[in-house]
Symmetry: C2
Subunit: 439 residues, 2 copies
């Protein structure tokens, strides 16, 4: 039999396989022994396969295995495929042998098919089990697709994918959220973002780069949108004429990503019971001061110069939704609210900066960078930092630095908002936060 055995899974087994000898593998999701007949529902990455064992047709050893098999054990079934109207995919397998590859202990720490919703902590304590649920897993097939679509778009725009160091001597985003480590006896930190390094690269001739990699923030907030390790998608472009070049590039990329998911991930979206809408483009551009006016009109108490905050973002999100926009830019934030590397808008209290908001939540920020050495040094001092701590960075501005700009975007926040997930952790396999370091 082994010779003409073909391997099938829940996606590939079909009525066309009828009478063929097949091999299927998976987790024993359900075992029903009804006396005269037994059913085994095998789950794999794509769905389930039904193994049907009529007592009269299969060997007694097989019935014994099925009777003693524990749920979630991993098994390999060899047998004959049969067309079946009752089975998913229109075909089932009549077993000739069942091998238990890995026997599951009982009781399970978490149900896979249970309708009961487990507490979030329980789910994440047993994340390997939680991810056996198709709806938990589908998010990661989509996340992988998002990465592929980003690559596709930016490589088409002549970007180079780069990696910057994650162990660094200085933070880019302020000291409060730095993780400190011992680096061969010297103090060092985990990179909060690739900001300083992607800017230094702009001085090398690699004039368009992007990076997809971990960023670390010792984030004390316990919210549904903060974690201490996330995947940051950063881009930086040299020789821009204005910040508008950056907005256009990022908008093109995001549209390509969301369109790509909407068009090619229908199986996963169906499992998630959600649809992905391609945002109306071009994304409207709202000046910060107008955004403040809009949320003030809606009854929020806020002054010019204040951060919009979670509440302001939500209110603005509702207003924009009513106008049919899920994605929109907020530009010209006060320079005071922005990091040292952002370029000021001369003669105003504002800056060449932007946020990109998606359904009432910021998912990206960026802007044109200050590329003039002297002005940059002044801005570092103005922010209460010591320019000497940034010499390794400032050097790259002394010997010819083109005008440049870019963005940082949280991949998981993008996925969260796209799929309307309740928590950014749903888009992270093994999340890290103030209280969670394992698994």
């Amino acid at each position: 039999m082994a010779l003409d055995l073909i391997t099938r899974n829940s996606k590939t087994l079909s009525p066309e396989d009828a009478e063929k000898q097949v091999k299927v593998k998976g987790w024993a999701q359900e075992i029903r022994n009804l006396g005269g007949i037994s059913f085994l529902i095998l789950r794999d990455r794509y769905g389930t396969v039904q193994v049907t064992a009529p007592k009269k047709k299969v060997a007694p050893e097989i019935m014994d295995v099925l009777t003693s098999l524990s749920r979630e054990s991993v098994v390999e079934v060899c047998g004959t495929a049969k067309a079946s109207n009752q089975a998913k995919g229109g075909a089932e397998v009549i077993p000739e042998s069942i091998t238990v590859l890995s026997s599951a202990a009982s009781p399970l720490p978490l149900g896979v098919v249970d309708k009961v919703n487990a507490e979030m902590d329980t789910r994440y304590d047993h994340r390997f089990m939680d991810l056996r649920k198709p709806e938990a897993r589908a998010v990661f097939e989509i996340k992988s697709k998002v990465l592929r679509l980003i690559d596709e778009y930016l490589l088409g725009e002549d970007f180079v994918e780069v990696f910057s160091p994650k162990i660094v001597a200085s933070g880019a985003e302020g000291g409060a959220t730095l993780f400190k480590l011992d680096y061969f006896g010297k103090p060092a930190y985990l990179a909060q973002s690739p900001q300083l390094y992607k800017q230094m690269i702009m001085s090398t001739g690699l004039d368009r780069v992007f990076e997809i990699g971990p960023a670390f923030r010792a984030e004390p907030s316990d919210t549904v949108r903060h974690v201490s390790e996330f995947i940051s998608f950063d881009g930086e472009m040299a020789y821009i004429d204005s910040m508008n070049d950056v907005l256009q590039m990022l908008e093109g990329c995001i549209q390509h990503v969301i369109k790509g998911v909407a068009e090619t991930s229908s199986a996963q979206l169906e499992i998630l019971g959600t649809e992905v809408k391609v945002p109306k483009a071009p994304y409207p551009i709202i000046e910060y001061k107008d955004a403040v006016e809009i949320v003030t009109k809606e009854g929020m108490e806020i002054s010019l110069g204040d951060d919009l905050g979670t509440e302001g973002e939500k209110i603005l999100g509702s207003v924009m939704e009513e106008k049919g926009y899920e994605m929109y830019w907020i530009v010209e934030y006060p320079e005071e609210a922005k990091p040292f590397y952002i370029m000021e808008k001369e003669g105003t209290p504002y800056s060449y900066s932007f946020d990109l908001d998606y359904k009432g939540q910021e998912i990206s920020s960026g802007g044109q960078r200050e590329h003039r050495y002297n002005v940059l040094v002044d801005r570092i001092s103005k922010k209460g930092l010591n320019p000497d701590d940034f010499n390794f960075y400032l050097d790259a501005f002394k010997y010819g630095m083109p005008p440049h700009g870019g963005w940082g975007i949280g991949v998981e926040r993008l996925v969260q908002k796209m799929l309307s997930l309740p928590n950014v952790r749903e888009a992270i396999l093994f999340p890290r936060d103030r209280v969670r370091l394992v698994p």
Copy 2:
């Protein structure tokens, strides 16, 4: 003039632009003022553009700018394109305006076109400047291509790209090279590899995954192949029939990558003055004990059980090169030499493990993993480790874990060997090692 100005660079400017109004930008690589005529060689990512200023034809202000311009300043030139046999690309620009976007200080910390080889430390101290050399930069265009080719191949094989946490509670590869950090008051470590996590994922149903991300080793060795932060390309596959499934997948992927670079990176390879040879496939499979015999025959002193070491790898590399093989597997290492997660070959002192060697250097290792809970616990103890420290990992083996295997490969080592670079650091933008934390 601004209205019909077209932007060109060294790749796109051509004789077909003759008489058009163009704008070019770049670093002032060379300025020659010959009295009656001045030449400015502008460098960008792709090469150089010649700006030719005959005193009689251009405004005096332009001659002034050219006379005072410092090398490596960033400038924007607007002018008329002209066909020219003397200029690279067959065209030059007669300037109508020259704007200095960023003036370079003098002296330069490092020459860009100098023939003199700077010390490695000087180069890496001023890496932004070092990377202005086309041959330093070309490596990263190829590295980016490598990543794209990996994605292309594995996504075609239904792999899902994942990210595992880099802040972890336990190391996978032994305590000696762990970086320790303070995680909200708890001790934590930087991940040496995604090993434990990609294995846990095998228990979820995401049956084929890969990850490309940083790995951290507090590596005390000062060698041309060790750094403390590198990009690890890891793959893991569930439901394998044997280790051979892994070898085939990785071989297919590596061949796709090297072929892709050879076929589509000719511009970069020319700059590097190197050729990339596609290794002869299938890669020969050498058992560890035969490898020991081969190097013994070549005069090396080594006993069964010993690591081949750098010397042994090199000797084996020469022997294989003579046979026409640049890439080959070494399989069935003694289980003693391999980590706990590798499967033993029952009844022998060997294991289901492999190394992939490229031109006399290991670039990847992997194998079939031990998926049986009890055997795995025993192996952890046998290695002198405490199974309790690995509960978060072991849990994933208790409730149905399919047989699985995979690999880890150092992206920079692969690039280094492919391009015959003298040091792995040449394939890292900002390397980290025992003595280097900046830039």
